[in-house]
Subunit: 130 residues, 2 copies
């Protein structure tokens, strides 16, 4: 397993991942997302109009910086590549994120015009502290 | 002022910044740091052996993702460039970070062999949420 056992628990917490992507001019971009973990891949939701999504269409490499919400001196960095983009037209994934992070059955901020997709990341390398 | 007034307060809190840099093969790297803010520039400490420091010698562009520790649905992304690297041989800067984050006069984990420097980032662009 690529994710060290010592830090895998962080992935099941209500932790945020700051996701770094490569922008149109090769510059880093970075902002926080909710994420899911199925034991082998990281998933996070996007709408198709978001810059982060467009970035991953050009360069599939991403890096997630994830702090333990219970101890900020413990963290896990996961580098990886976007291996799939899944449709979320029925909102199943974003609703599962609302359940994980908000304890709600449905994502409360969905806009009818939003075209939701799921970015699927295959981890390739990790670094840890704490 | 480049930093929006609406989110500038986050910079004075005990918030962590996930710093994305560009690695040797153009890939994003990303991990959390303590940081200081003087009203115009972001500073964070590194030792000269760290990959993040080496990355910024090759590509000066960085992006900091900073969540409000009191409200994770408020965040500030600061993109910028490394404009200076300052010597911290007397540990003045790392000790000021220990004061901000730990309430201590001295950084407790200094190793005699560590060559400490300060990465100075000039913000060029911000994005916010919340």
């Amino acid at each position: 397993m690529l994710i060290p056992d010592s830090h895998a628990d962080i992935l099941d917490k209500q932790a945020f991942a700051s996701v770094a992507t490569i922008g149109p001019n090769g510059e880093p971009q970075n902002n926080p997302v909710w994420f899911g973990w199925d034991g082998s891949r990281i998933r996070f939701s996007q709408t198709t109009t978001r810059q982060k999504y467009r970035n991953t269409r050009t360069d599939r490499r991403v890096s997630l910086s994830i702090l333990d919400p219970d101890d900020p001196y413990r963290y896990l960095e996961i580098r990886g590549v976007v291996v799939d983009v899944e449709d979320d037209g029925d909102l199943a994934f974003i609703n599962s994120m609302a359940s994980k992070y908000l304890g709600l059955d449905q994502y409360p901020w969905h806009q009818p015009a939003d075209e939701r997709i799921v970015i699927v990341v295959q981890p390739t390398h990790t670094t840890t502290m704490g």
